[in-house]
Subunit: 216 residues, 2 copies
């Protein structure tokens, strides 16, 4: 499958590299066509990895991963192009966090909205699936590195078929054992607000390499 | 020990009953001196259980548990009396949730503040410890009912000795195996915001009888 990955940070490069390893063709998008971080990412990965602008990557992908910083996500997706995202699975990994005052961050949305919903509203025919935003980048594609993978990743979104396809990538591709479907995209209010606890846990535990196991 | 419990709802009665069973003298406080729910709670529990106004209960207790609805907490604690709370361990179990628009609720505080901090500011010499607000009432005093107790309860607060004393009650009294100290009271921003995910999990799982195990 052809996949566009928007964002050249830790999340974008980690997910992009994993997708190439799984055999997909991946185009990483950034603000400029020749971003050095995107070029450095693509160079060692062979012909299945390429890079370009946000619009190039979005147009290339059958699926698109939004791996941008939350504060920039809506602007990046607009520059990627509504038409280039229309009808596509749009996997939103971003978090609406404001680090301008340092750690811990604050939320850029109130509890009546979420970045996931804002993205869905701005791209009404995109099949937005929010997931992976509750774990650190390395764990996104290697959940077995912690507690033998016995912990949860959440998905939410309005398109049931898109969630099933994303869940299959998470389990068969990325190795997740426990994918919990919370429901429609408004559940992003919950998984995004959890970052306020995640950042506190990160500071208390001294590592980002942790996750939640839901026990009943 | 003499303990005041503010609030006659599920949380107040559950914690009050457990504290009586542990041998403490408990006075439940409510808006009126003769609240029928408080009277009904105290009647079968014998001489160690009593009830009165919020001020009666706060004056009575060496420790005070705030088990009120979050929207009322500051007003209740004001009516309990700043002098009656001064210097005491004040265990804050409340959540700043607004259910006025139904489920799921929204938060009454933004991500730059928390109800725990508001309570600490309003009662500057009280030794506020935020805890237990992340689990349903029955699990607060019976964590072993789920996953053999292999899950976390959080504490935070500015007074290290108060946190140690509360953690001892949680472990030796209530049966918690894993008490995670997050740090100062500002960490209530994290544990309170988590309720936005908790309510989504509650709706997805169909039960409030769940909790988080932090895996590393």
């Amino acid at each position: 499958m052809r996949i566009g990955v928007l964002g050249t940070g830790m999340v974008g490069t980690t997910i992009g590299t994993k997708l190439v390893a799984l055999g997909h063709e991946v185009r990483m998008g950034s603000r400029t066509a020749d971003h050095p971080d995107a070029a450095a990412w693509a160079a060692p990965l062979g012909p299945r990895a390429s890079h370009g602008t946000f619009a190039d990557a979005a147009a290339f992908g059958e699926w698109v991963f939004n791996c941008t910083f939350g504060a920039a996500a809506l602007e990046v997706l607009a520059s990627a192009g509504v038409d280039h995202l229309a009808g596509k699975v749009l996997v939103d990994v971003s978090n609406p966090l404001d680090f301008s005052e340092g750690m811990p961050p604050t939320l850029l949305v109130g509890s009546r909205d979420s970045l996931g919903e804002q993205i869905q509203r701005a791209h009404p025919t995109a099949r937005v699936v929010k997931t992976l935003n509750t774990v650190t980048a390395s764990m996104m594609v290697d959940p077995g590195s912690v507690a033998n993978g016995e912990h949860e990743v959440f998905v939410c979104g309005n398109d049931a078929a898109a969630k099933r396809e994303v869940a299959r990538l998470l389990t068969e591709g990325f190795g997740w054992k426990h994918v919990l479907d919370l429901g429609d995209i408004s559940n992003a209010r919950g998984t995004e607000a959890y970052l306020l606890l995640w950042t506190r846990l990160y500071m208390a535990l001294g590592t980002p390499e942790f996750n939640l196991r839901i026990v009943r």
